[in-house]
Each structure stands twice: as C-alpha cells, then as structure tokens.
C-alpha cells in the first residue's frame, strides 16, 4: 500500500484554483489545432467538456452509445442545480456551499476540489442562461430558487422537474455548434470497449459500432472518460437501461485506480417496486420534499389497515400520523440529506409501519402544502380564504406549476392521483459517489486519461447533496477539465497525430474481438438479464442500505460463483456483426460482475459508517451512522491486479484545514 498524492496546489483554499490556473501550462491556439482529444460520454460532464475543448481549438472526437448525444442520462435529472449566487439574500456564499457539501458528504471528500466546485458554481448559471437555458423565473423576470436537502438556504436553480433535460440540451446545443464547425467529430451508437496505452500514456480507444458490430480504432493525445455512474450494478435503479460501468472499468483494468466503490446513494423518494417484472425504478425529485411531508401511521394496525385497503390514508387523523423526519430531525425536518432520509424510511418499514402491499413504502403528502399555497393565492386575489374547496383548487394549481410533470409521471406509473391522495415512496439506488480516482487536475493514475462527472469520485464524499450532481458535471466539463488538461497536453505539441497502426492498438483490438467471440459462441442456456437480476439481488440485499461483515463476505463469495456461472452458461442470440443489444448488454454485465466484488470488498474494508455507507457494527445508540475519523479519514483507491479479489488498496489521506471534522447532525 502506498500513499496517493492528489497534487493539490499550495496556498489558502480560496486562492488555490486561481493560483493554479495562473501557473499551469497553456497550449497556444495554433498548437491546439494539432492535438486530438477523445471524450467518452455526452452527458453534462462529457457534453460540456467536448464543446468547451472544441471551442478552445482542440480536435474532439466524442462518443456515446445512444442514438444521439441528447439522450445521455443526465437528461433525466429532475430537481435542480446548486449555485452560490445568493440571489435570495439568505446568507449564501461560496464558503457556505463548500461547507454544506463537505458536511453533506460526511467528511469524506477532498476540500480543495469541493471549494473549486463552489467557486465556479455561479459561472455555470451565467453560462447556461447565456446559452438560452430556460430556468424558472419569478414575475419580476429574475431567476427563481428552491431548497434542497441538507442546507438552510435556497440556492437551487431549476426548470420545473426537468432541470437536467434543459441543462443537457444546453450542452448539446454547444456541441452542435462545434459539430457544425467540424471541431467535434460525433460518433453515435458507439461503445468504448477498451483503452489503448502507448508508452504508458492513454493514446486511444477501441470501440464497437452498435449498428453493424464493427470494431474500430480511434487515437488521440488524451482520453476523457465521462461515462457516468454504475448504479445499474443493482439491476433496479433510477439509472437508464444502458447506463454502465464499462468505460470506467476498462481504464481501471489498464491501471486507473478505482476510488470508494462502495459509496452509493440510495435516494429516499422513488416510486416503490411493484413486482418482479420491473425493469427500472423512477425517481420523484427531492424538490418535492420542499412541499411534501413524509409520514407513516403511528400504529402498526393502521399501517396494516392501509396496506389491506381497509383504510384510506386521507382518512387517518393528523394525531395518528408519525411525521418521523420532523420528529427525529426538527432543524432540517423533511429536508435532511438523502442518506439520512433513506435510512429513516427503511427503519420505519423494517419495524412494520410500511404502507403498501410489500410493506416497503412511506407516504409523501402534499395536502398541507396545497392548503398553504391555496390560502396565499386566495389572499392575493382577494378571495375567501375559508372556502376550503376553492383554497384546494388554487393550491393544486400552484403545486402543478411547480411539479406538474412529476405528478403526471407518478399518476401514469402508479395509477393514483397524487393531488388527491399522498404519494407512496421508497428509497432506490440513484447515484454513485465512488468512481475513478482523479487528482486535482481530474487526471487518473494513467497519464493522459482523465475522468469527469459522476464517473470520477472527487466531490461528494460518502453522500451527495441534492442538486449537486448537475453542478459537478458542468463544473468539470465547462470550467475545470478544459484548463487542467492543457497542463498535460503542453508536452504533446510536437508529438503529431497518433497512428492507430501500432502493435498496442492491434493487441487491444484483438483482445476485444476475442472477448466478443467468446460471448457470442458460448452455447449456454441463460440470458443476460438472468445474471444481471441475480447480481442486483445480491448487491441490494447484502451491500445495500445497511451492511455487515457476515453478509459482505457472503456477497463476495456469491458474486464469484455467479461470475463463473456467467461465462459457463451465458447464451447470446444473433451475431457479433449486427445490431445486437443482448451482446452489448452482456459485455456491460460482465464488467458489473467484476465491479460488484470490488464494491463488496471496499464496503468490508471500511468498518466505519459514513454517509450512504452504513455498517451495522458502527452506529450510535440512536441508530445514527458512527464515523471513525481516526482510522478512516481517507479515500480508498483500488489498484487492479487481475482478479478483483487481488486488488490492492492505496490510501489518499483527507486533510481538513478549513472545516473542522465534526459529527454530522441535522437535529
């Protein structure tokens, strides 16, 4: 085990980024034209990075597995994006956003990175507005804000429940401008199959054309991985069906360390699982906790009555309801961070208070918000505030204008009207804080290979706050990577274009072809989904919202067996040289089967509880997570040695100079 250095610049935290930008090497505009950069993924991080790199003058090759860059899964982000603008005058500042994010991450993120994130956050909003992103506005024509979990200010900018869509379409439009100019060469329906290293440096990738199966070589002077997170390890998650870990995993196997794989975000407000047929879960934005109150009945008999359909939730009297977040965390109430809210829901359901058929759901109730808004509106219009049906109608209009699309989505899936009866929700896998280890410049342990957005690990520690993923994706892509990458590329101005005829490219291509042939020609009997579902069950049951030594060890063993079973019994229909989704999926699942083991191993190694990682052995008397700063104030960065069981742990020590390490309290 060695100690890792993140190469954090010297100086006070508020000057680090400015000084660093002033001192890193630049590449002249004339030389940028001689340099190629590959960007894998076109979500917020990849799309914004590709556009900005191209604007700066680099030749960009951009890859996505979807049929258009606009479909990357950032599109599905709902609630909003944080920025320290302090437009509401409620005391927000760069320092406060920095502090909230480090605290929210349960003191497992890197101070210098988080400060930089808070610093550039305001620029993101300016940039997006200039691009024509239609954020929500108030009647004065200025930008509106709302609150998210774990903070006491309103700093979240939003576009109804479609903020991710609008931001992504902004980045996509910036890409389109560069595609039109020929500065970005776009490869849709292409999957990255491997990284190519030449003399130890990242120099290209091998891809598979998903339409005709053609294996292709692409070279560049640097490779940027922006392929998102690995929540689909759990099979059921809020990720898109195609979201995968493969690009990150391939570079891990070529030498990039993988950091904190077990740090997963289980989001508290998702539509509960309804049956075995389910293919994915749907999030109900955290923004709903601005106005929705979470509760279960106080007595188990009432829960049972609701479960069996004998009692309607709206008919249960106020004093028989347990608003457990407001009870346990009076200071933050329904707006506690996600990990806290999720565990509290699990606790109530495990204790027998769950309210749907499976016993795994709690209520998210808008009745009091509807009345509150309705009265405000009635007062404003000079109407009768005591006319309950009028007040309700007016209140519903306000709720509709804020969350209309979310309510519609809920109604379509559950077949219940959430304006009339409370929503049912339960936690589900949503985001992965862990990812490829990167230094301050966002470079991995492979020279020339960078990772941005959810694919890297750097900013969210052990728990991400709401509306921070969009902020990080765009910060990395618009404002950080395009500058830090220059420091590396300054050495490449005389290199000339990289040939794909080298033995390194040939070998990488050959190993990709071998793997595909192995999968296609294996005459097994089980489908890819069979294995993916099994893997997901193991991870959810034994490495999910709470973890213990016994089950983690079992999980490791079971995943190893499942992996053997996969290579023995997988059956893939069709051929390798055609549009073949089961084949594409099999490659992704084969990587999940390796990551899953490392994930459990990482969770086993970290015997403390922190953020979303809850070890049953490490909790307070009240059942809150108990951190162990003395032994675990570090980033776990795993080095690949072939099999996941042989991975070697490296530690990056986390030093807190600006924020005091404290027990996180939202009471």
């Amino acid at each position: 085990m060695t100690k890792l250095s993140a190469k954090i610049p010297e100086g006070p935290i508020s000057k680090k980024w400015v000084n660093h930008k002033n001192n890193i090497r630049l590449v002249s505009p004339a030389n940028k034209r001689l340099i190629d950069v590959i960007v894998v993924g076109t979500g917020l991080a990849g799309g914004s990075a590709a556009a900005t790199l191209a604007e700066l003058g680099y030749n960009v090759k951009s890859f996505c597995f979807q049929d258009s860059p606009r479909r990357a899964h950032s599109i599905a982000a709902q609630g909003g994006i944080n920025a320290a603008k302090n437009y509401q005058g409620d005391g927000d500042s760069i320092h406060r956003l920095f502090y909230d994010t480090v605290k929210g991450g349960d003191y497992r993120s890197r101070e210098a990175n988080v400060y930089r994130l808070a610093e550039v956050s305001a620029n993101i909003i300016d940039q997006c507005v200039a691009q024509g992103v239609p954020f929500a506005r108030d009647y004065g024509g200025l930008l509106d804000n709302r609150s998210f979990g774990g903070v006491l200010v309103s700093r979240t900018f939003y576009a109804k429940g479609q903020t991710g869509q609008q931001l992504l379409l902004g980045a996509y439009s910036a890409m389109n401008r560069q595609i039109a100019k020929g500065k970005i060469q776009m490869f849709n329906r292409h999957e990255m199959m491997d990284l190519v290293k030449v003399n130890g440096k990242a120099r290209g990738i091998i891809t598979r054309n998903l339409i005709n199966g053609k294996i292709e070589r692409h070279s560049a002077h640097a490779v940027v991985i922006a392929s998102g997170g690995y929540g689909n390890l759990f099979y059921l998650s809020t990720n898109a069906m195609g979201s995968n870990v493969s690009a990150s995993w391939k570079i891990h196997k070529k030498g990039a360390y993988f950091a904190n794989p077990c740090f997963t975000q289980i989001h508290p407000t998702c539509i509960p699982v309804s049956g075995d047929h389910q293919s994915k879960l749907t999030l109900m934005s955290e923004s709903l906790r601005n106005d929705g109150r979470i509760w279960v009945p106080k007595s188990k008999s009432d829960s049972l009555a609701i479960r069996e359909g004998r009692l309607k939730p709206v008919d249960l009297a106020e004093d028989k309801r347990d608003y457990y977040l407001e009870r346990r965390y009076p200071a933050f109430g329904n707006l506690v961070p996600r990990d806290v809210a999720s565990r509290a829901a699990k606790e109530r359901c495990d204790s027998g208070f769950g309210i749907n058929k499976t016993g795994e759901a709690v209520f998210l109730d808008f009745a009091s918000a509807i009345i509150r808004y309705g009265k405000e509106k009635a007062h404003l219009k000079g109407l009768d505030e005591n006319n309950l049906s009028l007040v309700k109608e007016l209140g519903k209009e306000v709720i509709k204008s804020k969350y209309g699309n979310l309510f519609q989505m809920y109604e379509k899936i559950v077949d219940q009207n959430p304006y009339e009866t409370p929503m049912m929700i339960y936690p589900a896998v949503h985001y992965t804080m862990g990812g490829v280890w990167v230094d301050y410049n966002l470079m991995t342990t492979i020279p020339g290979c960078f990772a941005v957005g959810e694919a890297n690990f750097s900013d969210h520690g052990a728990n991400r706050l709401g509306a921070s993923a969009l902020m990080q994706g765009l910060a990395d892509g618009y404002f950080v990577l395009p500058y830090t990458i220059g420091d590396y590329l300054a050495d490449d101005i005389r290199t000339g274009s990289i040939s794909t005829d080298s033995k390194e490219f040939e070998e990488a291509e050959k190993s990709v072809k071998n793997k595909i042939e192995l999968l296609v020609n294996n005459n097994g009997t089980k489908t890819v989904d069979y294995f993916h579902k099994k893997l997901g069950k193991i991870i959810w049951n034994k490495c999910g919202m709470s973890r213990n030594v016994k089950e983690l060890n079992e999980a490791i063993e079971e995943i190893q067996l499942l992996r053997k079973d996969f290579y023995k019994n997988i059956s893939i229909p069709g051929t390798e040289n055609s549009f073949n989704e089961p084949l594409a999926k099999a490659v992704r699942v084969s990587d999940f089967l390796e990551l899953g083991e490392l994930f459990a191993k990482d969770a086993l190694e970290r015997t403390e509880s922190c953020g979303g990682h809850f070890r049953e052995e490490s909790q307070t008397k009240e059942g809150e997570a108990l951190r162990d700063d003395k032994n675990f104030a570090f980033v776990s960065a795993w080095e690949n040695k072939g099999d996941p069981s042989e991975a070697i742990l490296h530690k990056e020590e986390l030093i807190y100079e600006n924020i005091e390490l404290k027990t996180r309290s939202y009471k």
């Binding site: 606009r70 069906m241 047929h277």
Partner: protein, 248 residues
C-alpha cells in the same frame, strides 16, 4: 392478460421486413409496455429466436429514445406519454396489438423497431444553438430579466424530447413541430434574438434537405406529442421565417 402481438420484423436496412405474430400470456396490467416487450424478448431468447430490437433508455419518458407505433398511434393509445410510460392497463385481455417502427423516409429502419433519427441531429447542427463560448465571463444571469410569460413559453417549447412522434404521425412526415420548438425556444428569449433570422432560415433549409414533408396544418402532431408541444410554435416559426426571408 393474454395478448396477440403483431410486430414489424426487419433484419437490417436492406431487408424488406414483415409483420410477425407472437402470443404472450401472464402480462400484468401494472407492467409498462416496454416491460411487456422485455418478457417477450426473454421468451424469444430462450427459444433461440432473435429478440425484437427497439430503442429505449431512460424508461421515464424524458430521453426520447423509445419510438414505437402502436395500433396506428405514435407511443400508443395514451396521451402525453412516451411508449416507456404507457402501461398495459390501457389494454384489455385478448387484445391484438400491432407494433411498428416510426415510419418516415427521413427515419430509415436500422432493425425491427429501431430507426435512424440522425436527421434530427443534423437540423440542430444547422442552427439549434446560441453562439456563446464558455468563458466564465458571461454577464450575470440576472442582468437579463425575462418576462415570466415568455420564459414559460420558451420552457414549454424546450421540453421537446426529439422522439420523432410528430414526424411518424404526420401524413406528410413533416418535422415542423420539432423544428419550430427549437426555433421558438430561442426566438422567445432575448439571448436568442440576435441570431434568430439566420437560425430559422438555416434550420428550415436543413429540414427540407433531409426530405421531411410540408405542414398542412392537420394538427395530428400536437395530439400525439408526448410532451404536448403546441402548434403555436409552428405558427411562430412561420412568422419568423417570413420575416427573416423578407429582411435577408
């Protein structure tokens, strides 16, 4: 539920293609339409038959990938939803369901229900953006106040997911609703006004070059649009186009 599925099968873009029948049982009304397709595909795979290819990704109605023509309607019988949000409770036991790709000359079939919609991307390349570089020095976001009414309209236009239901539905295979949504989003905002003339001319030119048909105001696109994009956008684009044509 027990259903008869009649699905368009086409090996690749050169294949002629045909409708093939499949029987399927034990479908729960709580399943989404695509989950029903998953069940079918698992069954086909086990039997050694090539599963039905279809585009899908987010399965929550926002990415715009899914694109099925179900019983003669883009995204099926329900309103304001994409295929992935359509649930089997909208069908009855014993129903026969016809499933075809989004058809248009500008959307060639790749395989089965998967079509190539890159023509949409090329229209966006022609002008679907505001020319502003990333600098970190753009003016403060609140220095451009925008009337709420226009901000809301721009947002409504911007919610287009680029699925192509409008084209598949239109008897002329017109892409006017799609193109006008982007043109409108920008022409309603002060930031977008600067390049408005050039944008509308270039995007319409590209739309025509891609082979999309003309608009004859039947309004079918608005009815079938999963995001409820309004025909008003087409009217706005026509006005913008005319103005730009005269002043150029």
């Amino acid at each position: 539920m027990k259903l008869k599925l009649k699905i368009w099968r086409q090996k690749n873009s050169n294949d002629k293609g045909k409708i093939v029948s499949y029987d399927i049982e034990n479908i729960s009304p709580d399943m989404s339409f695509l989950e029903m397709m998953d069940v079918l595909n698992e069954q086909l795979t086990v039997k050694g038959i090539d599963p039905v290819a279809f585009d899908h990704d987010c399965r929550e109605g926002i990415c715009g990938s899914c694109s099925m023509f179900i019983n003669g309607e883009a995204h099926g019988p329900d309103r304001l939803v994409t295929t992935c949000q359509l649930h089997m409770r909208k069908f009855k036991n014993g129903d026969t369901i016809y499933i075809e790709p989004f058809r248009a000359n500008s959307f060639p079939v790749i395989k089965d229900l998967v079509v190539d919609r890159s023509s949409f991307d090329r229209i966006q390349h022609a002008g679907g953006y505001i020319s502003v570089n990333t600098s970190g020095n753009t003016q403060d976001a609140n220095s451009i106040p925008i009337e709420k009414k226009n901000a809301d309209k721009a947002f409504d236009a911007a919610t287009c997911i680029g699925c192509g239901a409008c084209v598949a539905t239109c008897k002329n295979s017109s892409a006017m609703l799609f193109v006008s949504a982007k043109v409108s989003q920008f022409s309603l905002l002060p930031q977008g006004k600067i390049e408005a003339n050039e944008r509308v001319l270039n995007m319409v030119k590209q739309m025509d070059e891609e082979g999309f048909g003309n608009c004859t105001n039947t309004g079918a696109c608005e009815v079938e649009c999963p995001k409820g994009i309004s025909l008003e956008n087409i009217a706005r684009m026509n006005r913008d186009f005319l103005k730009a044509k005269i002043s150029s």
